[in-house]
Symmetry: C2
């Protein structure tokens, strides 16, 4: 089948005694080409083992059928799920993904953005790094009207669409749940307030406290990178508080920090949920392994990946622009497990 020389549309044209133009059009089912001719072209193509040359095509048509992805990191359960969803959808739609990671550094994010721009991706999917302060580096994309879709860690911009869950609501509900369990000193583990996800969760957290008329004290807010290590440190911070001051619940903005905080506290003899109830965020696999199982928010990563790609493709294809759709909010639910159930009776 495939041997020495590469087959081109010219070879097909010669074989059928028609022009390369017709072959080119026939191969992509251009309506102006006779049905019968189309079939013959398709047959000849298969027979000769033709494979289209993407580069010639992209060069001429100025379309690359490639989507760039810039993510903070690839090796977290949540992002891996998002990527899986993106890949699945993109490949189904005949698009390729170029994936890069910023490693939570805005410097690398900027470099990656340049690379994507040079690679002439048809669109860009972005989740911002920990310390990114502005999105000037995306300016070239906006200028050239190359669609940009933010996911998870978004940035509001009139020329782009954002895909999120309702972080405020989820945080509000999970905090409310903790309060309903009788907790009154709820601590919140979070990260940079530059990022919407953390800022919104914090807002939801505070709103719930407010609705329950519980004053919020800054000593119950612990900002970190939410890593394993940070979870352990948060536990030590708690252990160092005067016993009467210690929180009776912890709501962490991710499961990793929550779980490792729990582990450290348990090692110090703290009973969960009796002494301190726990809630996390993301529904990471570890949340079902820790004992007691961790109450958390189900974050639909795979679906978010699908939605991000579809939204981008709609933009690329001009089906609807970011002008129309500025924000897409996905459904998420809180999952109550034993780590927060003080009175064993369900929610």
């Amino acid at each position: 089948m495939t041997e020495g020389k590469e087959i081109t549309i010219y070879d097909i044209a010669k074989r059928l005694n028609i022009s390369a133009t017709t072959v080119s059009r026939g191969l992509k089912n251009h309506p102006a080409i006779n049905k019968n001719t189309r079939k013959k072209i398709a047959e000849a193509a298969k027979e000769l083992g033709y494979r289209s040359n993407t580069f010639a095509s992209s060069l001429r048509s100025r379309k690359t059928n490639t989507i760039g992805v810039i993510a903070p990191r690839l090796n977290s359960y949540f992002l891996a799920s998002v990527l899986a969803g993106m890949e699945d959808t993109a490949s189904r739609e005949n698009y390729n993904l170029i994936i890069s990671q910023s490693l939570e550094s805005s410097v690398k994010e900027i470099a990656n953005t340049h690379t994507m721009f040079n690679k002439r991706v048809d669109g860009l999917l972005v989740s911002l790094a920990y310390d990114t302060e502005d999105i000037n580096h995306l300016q070239p994309f906006f200028k050239k009207k190359i669609p940009v879709v933010f996911f998870d860690r978004i940035h509001n911009h009139p020329d782009s669409t954002s895909i999120v869950i309702d972080n405020f609501k989820a945080a509000y509900e999970i905090t409310k749940h903790l309060l309903d369990q009788g907790c009154r000193r709820v601590m919140h583990l979070s990260a940079s307030m530059l990022r919407n996800v953390y800022a919104d969760r914090y807002r939801g957290f505070k709103q719930a406290l407010k609705d329950y008329k519980i004053p919020h004290d800054d000593k119950y807010l612990y900002i970190s990178s939410l890593s394993e290590q940070a979870g352990v440190e948060a536990a030590e911070y708690i252990l160092n508080m005067a016993p009467s001051q210690r929180p009776d619940a912890v709501f962490s903005a991710n499961d990793t920090a929550a779980v490792h905080c729990m582990i450290r506290l348990k090692a110090a003899g703290v009973k969960i949920p009796e002494d301190i109830a726990f809630a996390g965020f993301n529904n990471d696999p570890i949340s079902k392994v820790i004992e007691p199982n961790l109450t958390t928010v189900n974050y639909p990563g795979y679906i978010m990946g699908e939605a991000a790609v579809m939204s981008l493709l709609n933009n690329i294809r001009g089906i609807h622009s970011s002008q129309t759709t500025n924000l897409i909010m996905l459904r998420s639910d809180i999952i109550v497990r034993d780590s927060s159930l003080k009175n064993k009776e369900g929610k």
Copy 2:
């Protein structure tokens, strides 16, 4: 800076009153171009906001600077780490990654292989799907001498390099460790023996038993997909055995199955490690969360990703061919934790 028209080498040539040829060569530091000229070209390029057109370049030079990756799935901790390592290395070397997942299906793997071939990747990184029986679908690559590097789930082929850890040795040692703890009825959870990783681990497991003169009974081998669900089912399989027949140790070929098997057994009142000791494989984050912490094998995913890319690039660049280097074995270690420590005294 970047505005309406796209800048080409012809614009730079015109500006400097030299030929496009010289610009082309100057931009990639061709040694035949005068140093001074090179500098002028670089300056003009920056000043005009030139960005090279990959498609024109690929079309003519028949090089894409793109590496294809076919992985069973993207959303496992191990594979996410591998991908992170690949991405890091590839981007440093100025290569892009096109990533696809077979979802453990050989049908999809074949389809992905075709796509990669059509996309004309410069090389391919492959980890085989669960049920792939042969690698005929890679034939086009071998025929065209496009380098292929297998990682983790490999297939021995004279024209390709493989990156692995010593699965036999790791399994041997971890089984030996269990035996050293006094265990005599060791059960092994594994998956398809079509895949080297599982076959080799099984061999290592059996060899250790043999060296300890312990007969191996097929009822102590449980083949599954090693998913969470499979772990639970393995636990039920064990619980259904006559108490005197039950294994006193379980060595699982991954951590996920091990952990969920443990959880189910614990729920049934089985004491770990007293009644049944446990060991897993991969050093997944969950292994440090489960109680007791899971003894496992540290599998260096990130490093494997780096090594795979470097090896592929060496092939592409002709530094050394797969003829010379047929197999690269990475270092891995077993990590002993409480799940297998019957006599509390360390290893």
